[in-house]
C-alpha cells in the first residue's frame, strides 16, 4: 500500500513534471502535427470490403493502393511546387448501400478528406453521390457505368466506365455476325441498378439486331436458389443465355446451371468473368463464357499519367500483387492517376479548381483516352469484348487488340 501513497511535495513535483510534459508537447508537437497535416492529400474511399461484394471492393482497394504507392514513391502529388503525400482513408460499408451513404458523409464531415473515390457499383455510387454533391466534394467513381448515375445533373461526380450500351452493342454484333444459328436470347438480371440497366441495354440491342428475346426476368439481391428460374429458362431452349450480376451471383448461377445440365451456344455473363477469381472458382464451367469489360491488359496506350503506359501499369501491378490486373483494379488506379493530373494542373487542393480541371481533362492514359462528357461520365473509350478460352480471357474485340476467334458451345 505504501507505494501507492504520495506525500505532499512528491505529488506537487509529479504534477509539475506532468504539466511541463503537456506544455512541451503543445509547444513542440502542435506545429509538427499541423505541418504534417498540410503535406498530405487525403482521399476517402468507401468500399464493400466485406459482404457479397467484397471481391470487387478488394480489387478497387488494390488499384488505389498501387496508385498511392507510385505517387508517394516520387514524394507525392505536386501542388504549386510542393509535394503532398497521398493518404487514402478506407471505410468498409459491408456491401450495404445505406451504410455507404453514411460512411461517405462521415468521411467528409468528420474525417475531413479532400477528395473522394465513389462507392462500388452504380447503385451505391449513385446513392453516395448525393452526399458528395451536397458538400461539393469532387468524386470519381471507379465502377459505375449506368447512365442513371450521371443523369442527375451533378457537377462534382465523374466516372471512368463508359455507358452500358458500349458493352452490349459490340457483343451483339459479334454474335450476330459469327453465330448465325443463334436466334433466341434469354436474359436474367440481378435486380440492382447496374446489372438491371445493362440487361435492359442487352434486350434493346438484341431486338435491334433481330434476336428474339424469349425470356427476361430479374432475380432478387441475395437469392440463393435459382433452380426454378433456370428450369424455366431451359424449357425455352435459348441459344444465347445472358446473365448479369456480380461475381458471387454469377458463380452461384453458373454452378446451378451445370447442376441443371443447361447448355447453350453462347453464354454471356457480366460482370465477373474478367476476374481471375471467377475463372479459378468456376474451373471448367467457365470455358467459352463471353463477357465484356471496360479495359484489358492487352491494350497498348502510351499515357501522360503517372503509370505512363499500359505495359508499365501491368508490370507494376504484377510486381506488387503477383497476378494480372483486371478492369476493376485498373479503373481504380486510373481514378487516382486522374485526380493527380487534375490537382497538379490546378496547382491547388481547392475543390472547385480541381473539379474544373477534371471536367476539362482530355488526356491519354494507360487505361485509354480519357475525356468526360457534360454529365461527368467518360465517353472516350472502346471497351473490349472477350471470351474465356483455356482458362484465360481472350479478346475478341476491338480488332486492334484481338487475340482470338469466338468459340461456340457452353456445356
Amino acid at each position: 500500500m505504501e507505494s501507492l501513497r504520495m506525500s505532499g511535495p512528491k505529488l506537487a513535483c509529479s504534477r509539475f513534471v506532468f504539466a511541463a510534459a503537456v506544455f512541451a508537447a503543445i509547444v513542440c508537437g502542435a506545429p509538427a502535427a499541423s505541418e504534417a497535416a498540410e503535406d498530405v492529400v487525403r482521399f476517402g474511399a468507401p468500399l464493400p470490403l466485406t459482404g457479397p461484394l467484397a471481391p470487387e471492393g478488394i480489387k478497387q482497394q488494390q488499384g488505389y493502393d498501387l496508385w498511392a504507392e507510385q505517387a508517394n514513391k516520387i514524394g507525392g502529388i505536386l501542388v504549386g511546387g510542393k509535394r503532398y503525400k497521398v493518404e487514402i482513408d478506407y471505410a468498409d460499408y459491408q456491401s450495404n448501400t445505406p451504410r455507404a451513404v453514411q460512411t461517405t458523409e462521415q468521411m467528409i464531415s468528420q474525417d475531413n478528406v479532400n477528395f473522394l473515390f465513389g462507392a462500388f457499383g452504380s447503385g451505391a455510387a449513385k446513392a453516395a453521390s448525393t452526399v458528395s454533391e451536397k458538400y461539393k466534394v469532387p468524386t470519381i467513381a471507379a465502377a459505375a457505368s449506368s447512365s442513371q448515375v450521371y443523369d442527375q445533373g451533378y457537377k462534382y461526380l465523374f466516372g471512368t466506365f463508359t455507358p452500358n450500351d458500349t458493352l452490349t452493342t459490340p457483343l451483339t454484333e459479334i454474335i450476330k455476325a459469327q453465330a448465325p444459328d443463334v436466334k433466341k436470347v434469354a436474359i436474367l438480371a440481378r435486380n440492382d441498378l447496374f446489372p438491371l440497366a445493362i440487361a435492359q441495354e442487352m434486350e434493346k440491342s438484341a431486338k435491334a439486331n433481330g434476336f428474339e428475346v424469349v425470356y427476361f426476368e430479374k432475380y432478387a439481391i441475395g437469392t440463393l436458389d435459382h433452380s426454378a428460374t433456370l428450369s424455366q429458362m431451359k424449357s425455352l431452349a435459348p441459344q444465347w443465355i445472358f446473365i448479369t450480376g456480380y461475381i458471387n451471383d454469377l458463380l452461384l448461377i453458373r454452378k446451378q446451371m451445370v447442376d441443371q445440365e443447361m447448355k447453350a451456344g453462347v453464354v454471356t455473363m457480366i460482370a465477373g468473368p474478367a476476374y481471375q477469381d471467377f475463372i479459378d472458382s468456376a474451373g471448367q464451367s467457365a470455358e467459352n463464357i463471353t463477357s465484356a469489360s471496360w479495359w484489358h491488359p492487352a491494350e497498348r496506350y502510351a499515357g501522360k499519367d503517372i503509370f505512363g503506359s499500359t505495359e508499365n501499369f501491368v508490370k507494376l501491378f504484377r510486381d506488387k500483387y503477383h497476378s494480372d490486373p483486371d478492369y476493376g483494379q485498373a479503373s481504380a488506379a486510373l481514378c487516382g492517376a486522374l485526380f493527380q493530373l487534375a490537382i497538379e494542373r490546378a496547382g491547388s487542393l481547392d475543390r472547385e479548381k480541381v473539379r474544373d480541371e477534371l471536367a476539362k481533362l482530355d488526356v491519354v492514359t494507360f487505361f485509354g483516352p480519357v475525356k468526360f462528357g457534360p454529365n461527368g461520365q467518360i465517353n472516350s473509350l472502346e471497351p473490349p469484348v472477350f471470351q474465356i478460352q483455356g482458362a484465360r480471357p481472350v479478346v475478341l474485340f476491338p480488332p486492334a487488340i484481338k487475340q482470338g476467334e469466338l468459340k461456340l458451345g457452353v456445356n
Binding site: G51, L188, E217, A228, Q232, D259, Q260, E261
Partner: protein, 288 residues
C-alpha cells in the same frame, strides 16, 4: 416437362426448408421462445462443414456427426446458463435476449470469417441424375435425404424416447409435467440443445448447396419463420408441410410471375395464413 421439373425442384428445396425450420419450430413450440439466433447457428454449422472439408477433407455427411453433439452441447449450455433465467418472462424478453445473442454470434462470425462468400466445392463434383428430362443434382439429393433422415430421427426421439415424451409433456402442460416429476429446466435445455443441433446439421447440409456467409443468416431465419407459420407449430409433419408449401409457392411463383417476386409472394402467403389460419396447416398443441 417444365411442370415436373418445377415440382421436383420444389420437393427437394421443401425438404431442405423443413430441415432449416424443424429446430426453430421445436424451440418455439416447446419453450415458447422465438429463437432469433437460429439463422446464425445454421451459418455456423455451414462454416464447420466448410472448415472440416478444407482442412481435414472430411465430407459434409460425416461432418453431421461432429456438428450434432457440438451444437447440442452449445445449445444446452446456452439455455441452462442464460435463457432459463428469463424463460418465465414475457415473450418479448426472450426475443430480445436471443436477438442480442444473435448480434454477438453474427458479428463474431463476421470478425473471424469475414462476410465474404465461401463455397464448399466437392472434388470431384457429384454431377446430376436425370430421369425423363427431369434433372436433379446429386448433392441436393444427398442433402434432401439427410434432411429427411434428421426430421425422421427427431420424430422418433419425440415418439419413442423417454426424453422425447418428457419434451412433449412439457409442451402439453408444463404444470402437470412438473407434478409428474419432470425436471422442466433440464427438458427446456435439452429441447434447446436439440434445436441447436438440428440448426447446426441444417447448416452442414446447406453448405453443400449454397454459399456460406454470415450475411445469409437472416435469409435462413426468415425461411424458418415462414415455414413455421405455414406448417404450424407443434408437429414434425407441420414443418415438413410448411417447407414443401413454401418451396412450391416460390417455385411456381418464380415461374409464373418472375423470380424477383417469389419472396414477396411467400411473405404475402405468410400474412394470409396469419390472418386466416394462424395455427398453420398442421398446427396443434404438443409436439408429436
Amino acid at each position: 416437362m417444365l411442370v415436373a421439373q418445377v415440382l421436383v425442384n420444389a420437393l427437394v428445396l421443401g425438404c431442405l426448408y423443413a430441415c432449416i425450420a424443424i429446430g426453430f419450430s421445436l424451440v418455439w413450440g416447446v419453450l415458447n421462445v422465438i429463437n432469433l439466433i437460429h439463422g446464425s447457428f445454421i451459418v455456423l454449422g455451414a462454416y464447420l462443414a466448410w472448415g472440416l472439408y478444407q482442412s481435414l477433407a472430411i465430407p459434409p455427411w460425416y461432418a453431421l456427426l461432429v456438428a450434432a453433439p457440438l451444437f447440442f452441447v452449445f445449445g444446452y449450455l446456452l439455455q441452462r446458463s442464460l435463457l432459463n433465467r428469463v424463460i418465465a418472462a414475457p415473450v418479448l424478453v426472450t426475443l430480445t435476449l436471443t436477438f442480442g445473442l444473435d448480434l454477438i454470434l453474427n458479428n463474431a462470425m463476421i470478425y473471424f470469417f469475414k462476410a465474404d462468400y465461401r463455397k464448399l466445392s466437392l472434388h470431384p463434383s457429384m454431377g446430376s441424375v436425370s430421369l425423363f428430362d427431369v434433372v436433379v443434382p446429386v448433392d441436393r439429393l444427398i442433402a434432401t435425404a439427410s434432411a429427411l433422415a434428421l426430421t425422421g430421427l427427431l420424430y422418433l426421439v419425440l415418439r419413442r424416447l423417454r426424453v422425447g415424451r418428457a419434451i412433449v409433456a412439457v409442451r402439453l402442460d408444463r404444470d402437470a409435467a412438473v407434478l409428474m416429476g419432470v425436471d422442466v429446466k433440464s427438458i427446456y435445455a435439452i429441447a434447446f440443445g436439440f434445436g441447436a443441433a438440428l440448426a447446426g446439421c441444417a447448416g452442414v447440409l446447406m453448405a453443400l448447396i449454397f454459399p456460406i456467409s454470415p450475411l445469409t443468416s437472416s435469409t435462413y431465419l426468415g425461411k424458418a419463420f415462414v415455414v413455421c407459420v405455414l406448417g404450424g407449430l407443434g408437429s414434425v409433419s407441420g414443418a415438413l408441410a410448411g417447407g414443401l408449401l413454401l418451396a412450391l409457392v416460390e417455385g411456381v411463383g418464380s415461374t409464373l410471375i418472375g423470380p424477383a417476386h417469389a419472396t414477396t409472394l411467400s411473405f404475402a402467403l405468410l400474412i394470409v395464413f396469419l390472418i386466416a389460419r394462424p395455427q398453420g396447416l398442421l398446427g396443434r398443441k404438443g409436439f408429436e
